[in-house]
Amino acid sequence: MKTTPAFLLPAAMLALAGAMPAQAAWQPQKPIEFVATAGPGGGTDNLARAVQNIITKYKLTDQPVVVVNKAGGSGAEGYVYGKASAGDPYKVIFGTSNAWQQPLVSKVAFNYTDLTPIAAMAQDEFLLWVKQDAPYKTAGDYLKAAASGDFKMGGAQSKDTDEVLTRMIEKAGHVKITYIPFKSGAEAAVQLAGGHIDSHVNNPSESAGQWRGGTQRPLCAFSPKRLPEGPKVTATEGWSDVPTCIEQGINIPQYEQPRTVWLPGKVTSEQAGYYVDLMKKVQATAEWKDYIEKSSQVDTFLTGEAFDAFIKQDLEHVRQVAAEQGWLVK
């Protein structure tokens, strides 16, 4: 811990009196680094940059914010970096649920407990996609056809959210599907358009363009109720026209991927509190709503105990799938 240099105190006091409620005692004194655990252009990177833009536009902090990408090892690079920066409140790590899922299935040198959870800011939905000219119209048809055992499901990374969902579909539908891991959902989408795989489970934003362009279409959404009505994606259909998977007979009521925000471990609760407030302010802006709508995500804000409970629940669930598949690291 270092103390605030004396000459900065008046400035900090001013800022305090001006904008902050009384409990936010801590203020950043140097540039803040946003660490995106995804490459440029990926969903997590887009989120980090959207938050950065909103903070800059509304001057939510006096300090400059820079985004760095640490995408190596499916994001592990960013989390390991966060772990190594323990006690440094100027590194904010943007990730997904792989912060707690990845340590379960591979020998990475971090666990989510090495980090301080700030919030889950948005949820990405999952849909079941097939090629436009595929014969099946409903998820039921799809499962019937998949019973042949020759189906190939593409997805981003291995033993990650996409593969976990694939294994859940196998279990719910009593079928066997070959999972082919690619580098990203975008790659899987192109492979589907080319007919090299039979389906994938991309997020809405990853495949909206292809749906619109008529190369692939969603069969159902892994969501308890239909997605919110937005602008039409194709000429006749929008996200709310996609039935839920339960309606179609795949009993997976809910599967979502949260976008998560973390600080390194060993920061004070004032420091963590500052960022929770900052993210809350970001979420209240019109730009945020715009970003959420354009990327077809669900607005959510989990922090504190609610976030912890969410992690515990998700972790338990993934642990169960991973144990059945024999993925757990020894």
């Binding site: 440029p40 090892g73 592990a76 690079e77 970096y81 891991p181 363009g209 362009g213 008529g214």
Partner: protein, 508 residues
Amino acid sequence: MENFQSLLHGFTIALSLQHLALMVVGVLLGILVGVLPGLGAPNGVSLLLPLTFGMQPVSAIILLSSMYWGALFGGSVTSILFNIPGEPSSVATTFDGYPMAREGKSTTALATAFGSAAFGALVGVILITFLASWVAQVALAFGPAEYFAVYFLAFASFVGMGGAAPMKTVVALAIGFAIAAIGIDTVSGSVRLTMGVDELVKGVSFVVAVMGLFGIGELLIAVEEDIHARAVSSRIDWREVFRAVARLPKHGTALLRSAAIGCWMGITPGGPTAASFMSYGIAKRFSRRGRYFGSGEVEGIIAPETADHAAGTSALLPMLSLGIPGSATAAVMMGGLMIWGLNPGPMLFIDQKDFVWGLIASMYVGNIVAVVLVLLTVPVFAALMRIPFVVIAPLIVIVCAVGAYSVSNSYLDVVLMLGFGVVGYLFKKLSYPLAPLVLAIVIGDKAEDAFRQSMLMSKGSLAIFFDNRLVTSLVVAGFALLLLPLALQVLRLLRGDADTSGEKVRII
């Protein structure tokens, strides 16, 4: 002809004063990030991206794509002058560009590189203009097996041509593959070869390896050969710039062949790096002066540069028409497209005609702006060669350290870079070839992923590589290129010819 009319309409959009100004700004910034190792087009693009949110989408994409052209051109500068390739795709340019610059012909080398790069880019743009829809279909035909076949073809065209001892080549290649495998494996999700160093989970970046192997390694070789005693005359000669460009048409075959390879590799997602290596390898095989390659041949610069830019340009097409980014920069731009409210994909060409054709027209104009600006800077860069070795050597060390660090803000990378420098020196000194090592680092893991994805699809059977005409012909072409030098050797032995490769061949 419909495309042609759309293009003309596009020119009316691209040729406004405001857009030309944006191109100049973009190109200059691009050259800067391209020249500085460690910074690349993705840095520049992600820096400018927030500034573009208030702009018209077409102005924004013109600014960003101009920056991309500038960076592509700038990347060759340090390769030629200091043997430090700033981007993977300009590694092959060092093989002949650096020796030529060392002979004091840096102006010629730079002007040749830029001229042929501009030609490659132009061919790439023409392809985008007139064959967009066809090209998109071709790209869709590529599944994992076809990807693997393309990488195999790239290796086959390059391996076995360096003139080094075969076992040293094999060891260098295998080390490259092993380095590429470090970190998390895409197909199984498990951590590989980190050997107890947690930070290695991110893998070893190509930039780190190349800064050491080429940059530091070459410095050590140069200081040992006491190169600063040999004064490198580097007259600033404007006329030489034009003379070098005017000489290019004499190498028409090489230009066209390299452009074709570049476009092919840009569309099939082999990418600019594989394209430049493959083009160099094939040029060496088929050029009349092939055996002098590696000692400062003009065609040794033309081949990789033309192919690199042709591929870099045509790589933008899959992004627009399919929504797959062909490169890291394209990925950032695609993020931008979505923020501007455009969905990349097949519908872009129908919904956003002004945007698409404005962009395509700006590729023509932007490349012309870029080549003019970059040729104007040649004498400035060539003048860098006149800085005495004692001053430039520590500056190169610092640039390499900064470059290695900024890849992922990691000090470990700086230390690794220095280690690679020692390896680079040893390998050069003992005639181990560096090119196969670098090629394997860059595309080794992609080739492995593609192979294992194919094996998942075929349930472990190799028959998938002969499953359809496309993949079969790629694999057969690969084997043919692999066996060609062997066959020629046998033929020569049968004829009883003496070995003609007695001249001093530079090991690359």
